[in-house]
Amino acid sequence: MFSTQPRSVAVLVLAVACAGALGSPAFAQPSGGVVIDVTGAKRTLYPIAVPESPDSDAGAKEVAQVTAFDLSVAGVFKVLDPAGFLADLRAEGLGVDPQKWKDVGAFGVVKYRATASEVELRLYEVSKGATAVLSKTYPRKGDTRSIAHRWCNEVVKYYTGETGFFGSKIVFTAKSKATSAIYAMDFDGANAYRVSNNGSQNILPAWAPSGGQISYTSFMRNNPDLYVAPAGGGRPRQLSSQRGMNTGGVWSPDGSKLALTLSKDGNPEIYIISASDGSIIKRITNDRAIDTSPAWSPDGGQLAFVSDRNGGPQIFVVAAAGGTPRQVSFNGNYNTTPTWSPQRDKHIIAYTTRDGGAYDIVTLDLDTKATTRITQNEGSNEEPSFSPNGRAIAFARTGQGVFIANADGTGKAVKVWSGSATGVDWGPAPAP
């Protein structure tokens, strides 16, 4: 019944051999056990190293110092201590030995080289090897601080897609025994200069959105009038001199208007005036209560302000076109100085709250009603102001100075100016 021809036998033998081979363990598929899953890594700040360049002049040390400070207050980085670095910086030059930086826990490394004419900076992600992921060269004109600020904005943008706030400025009132003057400085406290130049009381400064002007209230003519001065200091022009108060002026996002408190009719109320000539555009509030401290929403459509119409001072929100205000703060019985986060996709207000005998900064999410504490058990903190990208908050700590803190409440506040300060306002983002 089976053919005994050699060809048929060969085919049969081959078929048996193949069947045997396929069934052998060498070709058997693994039994496919379950691998144990490890989920949810610990989410941390990004560890980054900023070593000083041994090849640069002494003046270029500022590059590392300013870069390290900027990245440490950006809210997303952990700047590593240089004392623990293992790499041979001279041998590395502008490059990196990735393993040496992994060994100290770094995920990123910033390297720079400064000559008399330029500063070259590079960013490395050690997981991606020895090739820089970001490189920039800046002409060296004057001090290197501005170069470091611009570089750090690039680094922040690389990682987060957001514009950094390095190189922006803060304006505030510095109080002395008899007078108070308006000062402006770099956000990190450097290059502070005087804006107002009179022997009177000057309070409540505010940046114009362009960054070219600063408004403030001054008693220089024996009445609290609103003035506008060039941001670099200089002779101010009187914008609003209504009878009574002309205080707390804040610029609309488009720079065409200011909201402020006027008491010309006997009671402090919120008004909107023209930024060009100070003429009254609209009265926003009309209540027997004290209404003050207006703050524009980032889209210019709403105003937050303080009113005691329901008892103690609380935060209210009203349409900028006018309408019925609604109370938004309910924690405690004393809430003042609201300021709106510039992040348009979030509706967050920061303000001063009194808890026991101390004043602290909190933020309120108007959508979720969640409140986040920014300061606690760190003195008395008032008058918050958001950074241009909304990631940080500047405020005044009574008797100590101007501080900045993460807007999400993490970490500790950092002092940027020492002295007696009030009326803090963070200016717009610097030009790229």
Binding site: V34, V35, I36, D37, A41, R43, L45, S127, K128
Partner: protein, 253 residues
């Protein structure tokens, strides 16, 4: 003296009249109106004021978030060796007397001493025709010889405390920066000896360099920690370490 029925009825009726009249009179006396001239004894009375009170909820200001303290690592879980004797219960207190002799090792009195006239148990009656033939050749002394033949192991072993302890250690060590967006999963496999030492590693990349790098760092840290202080593999898991022991890291799961 006896009474007839009619006399009894008369007496009963009279008694009823008298009784009812007495009750009526008492009622009338007690229900009489108070005289208008009667004054309440105010001096003797105590005025009690009562009011409704409702406990108000104490409103608490929001508190600043503090970093939660790192939880202590889970306790070491060792599967007891059934062959080991019962642990010795140490006496209370610590003796600092250098001349004090350590306590004698307790005698294993679980098994009673065999009496000389005890007959050995005959097991042959329990044998079946299908029983395995007696082993021949040299006995196998090492269980779980690593052969690296395949990855993973059966689901029944994944829940064993020994492996879960390693997972807990990974979760303590494995860090990923918040601003980094990663995608995929990385697999890390170990060759583990019965002593608990990690002698070799195998790594399957996800393609995301930052994720892979973070897992590699965690692997190196676990390997160093486990080799510095190895924890023996429980007897029941020795067969598992015959293969690669793998962990899959997915930060987005």
């Amino acid at each position: 003296m006896s009474f007839n029925n009619s006399q009894l009825h008369v007496f009963a009726f009279a008694g009823t009249i008298v009784f009812a009249g007495g009750l009526l009179g008492a009622t009338a006396f007690l229900a009489r109106p108070v005289e208008a001239s009667h004054e309440p004894p105010l001096k003797e009375m105590m005025t009690i004021e009562a009011s409704l009170a409702r406990k108000s909820e104490k409103k608490v200001q929001p508190q600043k978030e503090q970093k939660a303290p790192q939880p202590p690592p889970p306790p070491e879980i060792k599967e007891p060796d059934p062959k080991a004797p019962d642990p010795v219960v140490k006496p209370e207190g610590v003796s600092h007397d250098e001349n004090k002799k350590p306590p004698d090792k307790p005698k294993d009195d679980k098994k009673p001493p065999r009496k000389p006239d005890d007959k050995p148990v005959d097991l042959s009656k329990f044998k079946h025709a299908s029983d395995d033939e007696p082993q021949t050749g040299a006995p196998v002394t090492e269980i779980g010889q690593f052969d690296g033949s395949k990855d993973g192991f059966a689901p029944v072993n994944a829940g064993d405390p020994y492996w879960q302890h390693i997972v807990a250690e990974f979760k303590q060590i494995w860090e990923l920066p918040t601003i980094v967006k990663v995608d995929g999963a990385t697999k890390a496999c170990f060759h583990i000896e019965p002593t608990g030492k990690f002698v070799d590693t195998k790594f399957e990349r996800s393609g995301d360099e930052t994720l892979d790098d973070s897992v590699q760092r965690a692997m190196n840290a676990i390997k160093k920690a486990r080799n510095d202080s190895p924890q023996p593999v429980p007897t029941g898991q020795l067969a598992v370490i015959k293969q690669w022991v793998c962990f899959r890291f997915n930060p987005n799961a």
